[in-house]
C-alpha cells in the first residue's frame, strides 16, 4: 500500500496569497515593490534552530498551521461601540484602527489633529506622490529576512503617519491592531510607516488584540524615521489571543540629537517574536529599548534587539524584564554594534528574569560587537526566583499570597513601567500584570 503525501510548502502558500494580494492592487509602484518581495520570499526559507537569530525559537508549531489571508475571507465588520471596548479608555488619545492589517478611517477618530498631521493609508500616500514615502517606504528595514518579505508581499493597506517639523502632539496616538474574528485560521500583514519631522514630539500606544474566532497570525512591520532633535515614544502592548502567533519587526532610523523610546509589553499570544532594530545614524542620539513580558502555560516570547551605533556621542539603554511561570519560555537577545567611528558611545543593556516555576526557562544572549576604543558598554543578565523572605514578610502582615506575589512582581516591573510618559498607561500595565498573574483565578 502506498500513501501519497503531499508536502505542504509554507513559503509557497504565503507566496500564493501574496500573488492574490498583488493582483488586486492597482498601483504600479506598490505592485513592483510587492512583486520583488514575493520573489525574494520564494528565494528564502523559514529559519530553523540552526539559524543563529532563531536559535531558541522553534517555528514548527507555527508552520504546522495553514493560514488563509484575511483578504480572501469575509470582511470582519466592526461597530464603533466594539472599538470603544477595545481601546485603553483611561487616557485620551487619537484612535487609529487597523482591522486585519487594513487601516480603517471610518472606525478611527483623529479629527483633532487631522489638520496638523498626515494620517493616511500607505497607498494613498504613494498615489499622492509623497516624496518621503517614496524615499523611506520599505527602505528602512535592515537585515531583511523571510518575515520582511512575507509582510511586504502580503500587506494590503498600511498606516502612514507624517508629523511635520516642529509639531508637538500632546495626546498620544493609539493604534488598535485588531486580529482574527474568522472561522478559518487567518493571517494578515500590518504595516506602519511613521515619519516624525525635526523637533517634533509624539507618543504612540499600539495595542494588539484578537477577536473571538479561530487562531490567527498577526504579522506587523513598522518603520520609523526619527528626524533631527525629535522625540518619539512608542509603547507596544501585545494582548493577542493565547492560541495565536505574533511576529513583529520594528526598524528605526534615528537622526542627529533625536530620542526614540520603544517599549514592548507582552502578555498574550502562544508564540511572540519581536525584533526591534535601531540605527543611530548620527551624533548625540538617545535610544531606549525596554520590555516587560509575563508568560505562563506554554507561552513562548522571544525579544530580539539590535542597536547600531554608527557615529560618536550617542547613548542607548536597554532593559528587558520577564516573569515566567509554568512551562513558559522567554528569549532575549540583544545585539549592540559600535562602529569604529562611534567613539564615546554609551550602551547599557540589562535582562532580568524571575522564574516562578521549575519548568519555566529563559535564554538570554547579549552580543556586543565593539570596534571603537573609547566607549562605555555594559550588559548584564540575572535570573532568579521570587524573594521568599520578602514574600513571608508581606504575608505576615495579613496580605494574601496572590496579592503578595503580584506586589513583588509589580515592584520588579516597576522600573520599566515607571518610564512611561502616560501615567494612566502605567496603571493599565500594572492592572494587566495583576490580571495575567491571577488569570486562573479570574477566569
Amino acid at each position: 500500500m502506498s500513501v501519497e503525501i503531499k508536502k505542504r510548502n509554507p513559503i509557497e502558500q504565503f507566496a500564493q496569497s501574496a500573488e492574490n494580494v498583488i493582483n488586486k492592487n492597482t498601483n504600479s509602484a506598490i505592485r513592483a515593490i510587492q512583486e520583488q518581495a514575493k520573489s525574494d520570499l520564494q528565494n528564502s526559507q523559514f529559519p530553523t534552530l540552526k539559524t543563529e537569530e532563531w536559535k531558541y525559537t522553534n517555528l514548527n508549531k507555527f508552520l504546522a498551521n495553514e493560514f488563509v489571508h484575511t483578504s480572501a475571507l469575509d470582511k470582519v465588520e466592526l461597530k464603533k461601540s466594539e472599538i470603544d471596548a477595545l481601546v485603553f479608555d483611561s487616557f485620551e488619545s487619537h484612535v487609529l484602527v487597523v482591522v486585519n492589517g487594513v487601516f480603517n478611517k471610518e472606525l478611527s477618530s483623529f479629527s483633532e489633529v487631522s489638520n496638523k498631521v498626515t494620517v493616511s493609508t500607505i497607498s494613498e500616500a504613494i498615489i499622492g506622490n509623497d516624496e518621503e514615502v517614496k524615499k523611506y517606504f520599505s527602505k528602512i528595514s535592515i537585515n531583511n529576512s523571510v518575515f520582511d518579505f512575507l509582510n511586504l508581499s502580503n500587506f494590503v493597506d498600511g498606516l502612514y503617519i507624517n508629523i511635520p517639523a516642529n509639531v508637538i502632539i500632546e495626546k498620544p496616538f493609539q493604534i488598535i491592531n485588531i486580529n482574527g474574528g474568522t472561522v478559518e485560521k487567518s493571517f494578515s500583514s500590518s504595516r506602519n510607516l511613521i515619519i516624525a519631522g525635526k523637533h517634533s514630539q509624539s507618543t504612540f500606544v499600539q495595542k494588539s488584540v484578537g477577536l473571538e474566532g479561530n487562531l490567527y497570525f498577526n504579522n506587523i512591520s513598522s518603520e520609523f524615521v526619527v528626524a533631527e532633535n525629535c522625540i518619539l515614544n512608542f509603547y507596544n502592548v501585545e494582548l493577542d489571543n493565547d492560541d495565536s502567533f505574533h511576529i513583529e519587526k520594528t526598524d528605526v532610523l534615528q537622526k542627529r540629537d533625536s530620542q526614540f523610546n520603544h517599549f514592548n509589553f507582552t502578555f498574550g499570544g502562544k508564540l511572540v517574536r519581536n525584533d526591534v532594530n535601531t540605527k543611530l545614524s548620527d551624533e548625540n542620539i538617545e535610544c531606549t529599548l525596554n520590555g516587560l513580558y509575563i508568560a505562563n502555560d506554554n507561552q513562548h516570547f522571544d525579544n530580539s534587539t539590535f542597536i547600531d551605533h554608527a557615529k560618536p556621542h550617542s547613548t542607548s539603554h536597554e532593559l528587558y524584564k520577564g516573569i515566567l511561570d509554568d512551562n513558559s519560555r522567554g528569549v532575549f537577545s540583544g545585539k549592540i554594534l559600535v562602529a569604529k567611528d562611534a567613539q564615546l558611545t554609551n550602551a547599557y543593556q540589562n535582562n532580568n528574569t524571575i522564574l516562578l516555576s521549575d519548568s519555566a526557562k529563559i535564554d538570554s544572549k547579549p552580543q556586543l560587537e565593539i570596534y571603537a576604543d573609547d566607549v562605555k558598554c555594559t550588559h548584564g543578565a540575572t535570573v532568579g526566583q521570587l524573594d521568599e523572605s520578602a514574600l513571608f514578610y508581606i504575608l505576615s502582615r495579613g496580605i494574601p499570597k496572590e496579592k503578595a506575589k503580584s506586589m513583588l512582581i509589580t515592584a520588579f516591573a516597576e522600573n520599566v513601567v515607571a518610564e512611561l510618559k502616560i501615567d494612566k498607561l502605567k496603571d493599565e500595565i500594572n492592572h494587566l500584570i495583576f490580571e495575567h498573574l491571577n488569570r486562573d483565578e479570574v477566569v
Binding site: D387, S389, A390, F392, Y393, I394, L395, S396, R397, G398, I399, P400, K401, K403, A404, M407, L408, T410, A411, F412, E414, N415
Partner: protein, 249 residues
C-alpha cells in the same frame, strides 16, 4: 491570649524547640531571654508560620483558635504580629501602599469597613510621630535603603498602625543606639494596654529597663528552664546564664 503546650519544632530535621510551654494573658508583657541558639527566634518564626520550620508536636491556642492550622496571613488577620529581627527590604513597594493593603486585608477578614484614605493618612502621621519617623520614609519603598535603626523603628511603626492583639518582637532592640532604643521602647509602651499582649524576645537586659515586663522566661536548648518576675533580669545581668544552665553540663 495565647497558650503554648509542649511545642516541638525543627528546621532541616534538627530539633530546636523541645517541648516549650508558655501562657500569655491579655494585658501582660513577657520577655523571653536566653543565650544564642537557644531557640528564641525559632519560637517567633514558628508562631508566625514560617514554612522553613516544622512543628513536630504540641499545640498553640490563640484566642481560642488552633494557631498552627492557620496560614501566616490568617494568623496576622487574627491579630498576631511579628516584629522581625531582620526586617526585609522590598524595593518598589511603598510603605504606604504596603500598610494600607495590610490594614484593609485585616479589616476585610474581620468584616470591618475599609479604612478611608483620609483616616489612613491621619493615622500614619500620628504614629510616625511616636517613633520619630520622617514622613519621607513613609513614601519610600519598604525598608529599602533604611539604616538598621530605621528598619526597627519601621517595625514598631507597623505595629502601631496594625494594632494587633499579640505582638512578638524578635530582638527589636539589637543593634540600636540608646536614642533609637528609647524611641522603640516608647512605641511599644504606647501600644501596650489591658486588651493586648507583648512577647519580647531579647538578648539584652537593657531593653527591660525601658519596657518593664510582667514575666521573664529563660529559654535554653529549646525549653523554658526558668520563669520569674522582672527582678530575674537583674539576676541574669549579674550572674549570667551559667548560673541557671550549669547544672546542665
Amino acid at each position: 491570649m495565647i497558650t503554648i503546650k509542649n511545642l516541638k519544632a525543627e528546621i532541616d530535621s534538627k530539633e530546636i524547640l523541645r517541648g516549650l510551654n508558655l501562657q500569655v494573658n491579655a494585658g501582660e508583657v513577657h520577655a523571653i531571654m536566653g543565650p544564642n541558639g537557644s531557640g528564641k527566634s525559632t519560637l517567633a518564626n514558628v508562631l508566625t508560620g514560617h514554612d522553613n520550620y516544622e512543628v513536630t508536636s504540641g499545640e498553640v491556642t490563640f484566642n481560642g483558635k488552633d494557631l498552627l492550622s492557620l496560614d501566616p496571613e490568617d494568623r496576622a488577620r487574627e491579630g498576631l504580629f511579628l516584629g522581625f529581627q531582620y526586617p526585609v527590604e522590598i524595593p518598589g513597594v511603598s510603605n504606604a501602599v504596603f500598610l494600607q493593603t495590610a490594614i484593609n486585608e485585616i479589616r476585610k477578614y474581620n468584616k470591618q469597613e475599609e479604612i478611608t484614605p483620609k483616616e489612613f493618612l491621619a493615622k500614619m502621621k500620628e504614629k510616625a510621630k511616636v517613633v520619630g519617623m520622617d514622613s519621607s520614609l513613609i513614601s519610600r519603598s519598604v525598608n529599602t535603603g533604611f539604616s538598621g535603626g530605621e528598619k526597627k523603628k519601621n517595625e514598631i511603626f507597623q505595629l502601631l498602625m496594625l494594632d494587633p492583639k499579640l505582638a512578638i518582637l524578635d530582638e527589636t532592640d539589637s543593634g540600636l543606639d540608646i536614642d533609637a532604643l528609647r524611641v522603640v521602647s516608647q512605641g511599644v509602651n504606647e501600644f501596650r494596654n489591658k486588651n493586648n499582649a507583648v512577647i519580647l524576645v531579647t538578648h539584652y537586659q537593657r531593653l527591660l529597663d525601658y519596657i518593664v515586663p510582667d514575666f521573664i522566661h529563660v529559654l535554653y536548648k529549646g525549653e523554658i528552664i526558668k520563669s520569674g518576675g522582672k527582678e530575674l533580669a537583674h539576676e541574669l545581668e549579674e550572674k549570667g546564664y551559667d548560673w541557671i544552665t550549669k547544672g546542665d553540663k
